[in-house]
């Protein structure tokens, strides 16, 4: 475990790893495995998530003939960049935990990952049982089959710092909800000399998943592309409204045109800014006084849509089994093990990320949520999240929109309508038949 790295645990981990590192054996084969036996490999994001996977792997290895080993991929974007190259080189292992929706249609089309519906008779029923029919239907590929096991969601919401809100004379118990409420709160904070918000302005596509895109979904309640993912659908009122909101935010200087970092390095987590668009994974990043002052609210919606549940971006990740898997059935059995009720509950409590399990709330119990009040709004939010469009061009679409967002919202170089029109033209060309 990385997060609650109390000294004893750290020493224990250090000890075991050093011993492993210095013994003559390497290659990561799990201990106690007969020579020559197959080692099945899992890719998982480096860091806390990788550590969690390793723990589950240990549990599995203790009770099964087939042994798995987990390898780290770099966190963030570079991991996805390497996956496709590995698929092309047929250099993939058994499993990948953490495949993004942006990539899943390409992976499905490539033949680089297994068609789960075809390979495993219980695949669809497993997903239905765990996550519900809606999830299963949503992630069917163009050919109707399932290629990914939807794994977890991190709804994007808005953290706020109650102490800072109070300081600016705002009602800390009733955070803003609509555009005008948010803008009013930002204004009050700025007047009080407090930085309202510090979202990253980096142009890499996935940054938009944590600023503009959730507000777009809240306003539009549908994705960026048409139902058949063959035309743009964002050049409409919801697109204009949501981007105009951000334009105001930057034009008034509520969000500095500065390269604010994510998580640990974000000013919000250091108590220096009042709001932060992020997911539940940010909860462990808040340390010191911020952790006690934090509250969670919904993403801003247009004033006219002030009632009803707010939709946001769900940041859903998946587990895939590669076509190169040496032992397909063991890989599938491991997926089911990894996603069982016990491990799902452990994932929620340790990672503060939300497995796509309908019975999750009951599984962990009320007492858990009493101890983790900040998680409650996120778990409730999972009822109304949307994901990225299931198109092989999703990354290109988001890249195009990121440029539009920079141009119209961050730097105010062109009117929002014009930027969106241009982006729509480009996207139509990109995804059009």
């Amino acid at each position: 475990m990385w997060i609650n790295r109390k000294s004893v645990a750290a020493v224990a981990v250090a000890g075991s790893l050093t011993i492993a590192g210095c013994s003559a054996e390497r290659g990561g084969a799990p201990a106690g495995q007969p020579a020559g036996a197959q080692t099945l490999t899992i890719w998982a994001p480096a860091g806390t998530e990788g550590d969690f996977v390793r723990k589950v792997v240990e549990k599995w290895n203790a009770g099964h003939e087939t042994k798995f080993v987990a390898q780290d991929l770099p966190a963030a974007t570079a991991s996805e960049d390497g996956i496709a190259a590995a698929v092309a080189a047929k250099s993939t292992p058994e499993l990948f935990i953490g495949a993004s929706t942006a990539q899943s249609p390409s992976l499905a089309e490539s033949g680089g990952v297994l068609n789960l519906s075809k390979e495993f008779p219980d695949a669809e029923s497993f997903v239905t049982q765990r996550s519900g029919q809606a999830i299963l239907d949503n992630y069917r590929a163009a050919d109707g089959s399932l290629y990914v096991v939807p794994w977890r969601t991190n709804p994007v919401m808005v953290f706020h710092n109650k102490a800072l809100l109070k300081k600016a004379g705002l009602d800390a118990e009733k955070p803003p909800a609509t555009y005008s409420e948010y803008l009013a709160a930002f204004k009050a904070l700025k007047v009080a000399g407090i930085a309202p918000i510090a979202q990253s302005i980096d142009q890499t596509w996935w940054h938009r998943n944590f600023d503009w895109y959730p507000t777009y979904l809240a306003a539009a309640k549908h994705g960026l592309l048409s139902e058949k993912v063959d035309a743009s659908a964002f050049n409409e009122q919801a697109g204009v409204e949501s981007m105009t909101f951000w334009r105001e935010v930057f034009a008034k200087g509520y969000n500095a045109r500065s390269s604010a970092g994510l998580d640990d390095t974000n000013p919000f987590n250091q108590g220096k800014s009042a709001f932060y668009f992020s997911g539940p994974w940010n909860i462990p990043s808040m340390t010191g006084p911020v952790a006690k002052q934090a509250g969670v609210g919904t993403v801003p919606v247009p004033d006219a849509k002030a009632t009803g549940p707010v939709t946001t971006y769900g940041d859903i990740k998946h587990v895939v089994i590669f076509a190169t898997a040496k032992n397909k059935s063991a890989s599938w059995e491991f997926v089911k093990f990894y996603l069982n009720a016990e491990n799902d509950a452990a994932f929620l409590s340790e990672m503060k990320q939300i497995p796509l399990r309908t019975t999750l709330a009951d599984d962990v119990g009320e007492a858990f949520f009493k101890d983790n009040p900040l998680l409650v709004p996120f778990v409730e939010q999972t009822g109304s999240v949307l994901d990225l469009d299931l198109s092989t061009k999703t990354i290109d679409v988001l890249t195009t929109l990121s440029t539009a967002y920079q141009s119209a919202a961050i730097y105010g170089r062109q009117p929002v309508a014009e930027a969106l029109k241009q982006a729509a033209d480009q996207v139509d060309q990109l995804v059009g038949k």
């Binding site: 997060i3 750290a10 770099p74």
Partner: protein
């Protein structure tokens, strides 16, 4: 030798020195700053928790060994092949010599990212991209000959006076003997420069190493450190991202700096005192 006023010399050097040294000071000091005071120039107290953390997280000894093998392999092959190729280009004449030189220049112009995917497919097909000693082959061979090194060798061999070669030819010495007995001893600085320019490639390589080696125990140190530094969503090092990144960065830089300082005596003599007089 250009004699410049002492005051000018020291002003230039000190000013430059500050600009060059400061980021390293900042890096090292950040790595031992307690969380919460990273980014200050003088931390209120010293905190080595990021260091214990990275040593706990990485199989450092293996990573270091992998980096050494990877780097030595590339340097050795570059020196061996690069020097004879440079020699041929500079002092021998054969059909296609100019074409060959043009080809070598052209390889410099090729972005590695262009060849990366075909190379990855190749080494995977050959079974090199898997944990085990074959990992070293996958790492070393595609990087094995550094074209800049060849150009440097050619430059140095060309700088040698023709009379030396003429005399040796008259004595009946063959090409190989001339290369070994005359050209190489006279161009030691070229070997040093070539070593330097070559070894930073594999030592600091991130892209290629990351692609072909996923196993922690077979990864070069640079890849291990890069993964640690990538933690966008990882609360690495107990909520001290910059502390962890700078500690890992320092760890990667230290062996090279130590090597350079130790090497510097020979290096300086090579370039400055034995330098070729035109």
């Amino acid at each position: 030798m250009t004699r410049i006023p002492r005051i000018v010399r020291y002003t230039i050097l000190t000013l430059g020195g500050l600009i060059f040294l400061f980021p390293f000071y900042f890096m090292i000091i950040t790595s031992v700053s307690p969380p919460g005071s990273t980014g200050s120039l003088v931390p209120p107290s010293l905190d080595f928790s990021t260091w214990t953390f990275i040593f706990a997280e990485l199989p450092i000894s293996w990573n270091l060994l992998n980096s050494v093998v990877y780097t030595l392999g590339v340097v050795a092959i570059t020196l061996a092949i690069g020097s004879i190729t440079g020699y041929a280009l500079a002092r021998l004449s054969f059909r296609g010599r100019d074409t060959l030189f043009a080809v070598i220049l052209f390889t410099l112009a090729l972005p590695f990212q262009l060849l990366m995917v075909p190379l990855f497919i190749m080494v995977s097909d050959w079974g090199w991209a898997r944990p085990g000693p074959e990992t070293y082959l996958a790492l070393i061979f595609p990087m094995a000959v550094n074209a800049t090194a060849i150009i440097i060798f050619r430059q140095f061999f060309r700088g040698l006076p023709q009379e030396l070669f003429d005399a040796a030819y008259l004595d009946g010495a063959g090409n190989l003997r001339i290369l070994w007995k005359i050209a190489i001893p006279l161009t030691r600085p070229a070997f040093l420069i070539a070593t330097l320019i070559t070894f930073i490639g594999p030592w600091n390589d991130f892209l290629w190493g990351l692609l072909v080696v996923r196993d922690t125990y077979w990864q070069p140190l640079s890849v291990a450190v890069g993964i640690l530094g990538s933690g966008a969503h990882a609360t690495a090092g107990g909520g001290n991202y910059w502390g962890t990144v700078t500690a890992a960065s320092t760890l990667l830089a230290v062996p090279v700096i130590v090597l350079f300082v130790a090497f510097q005596r020979y290096f300086v003599r090579g370039v400055i005192e034995d330098g070729i007089k035109g």
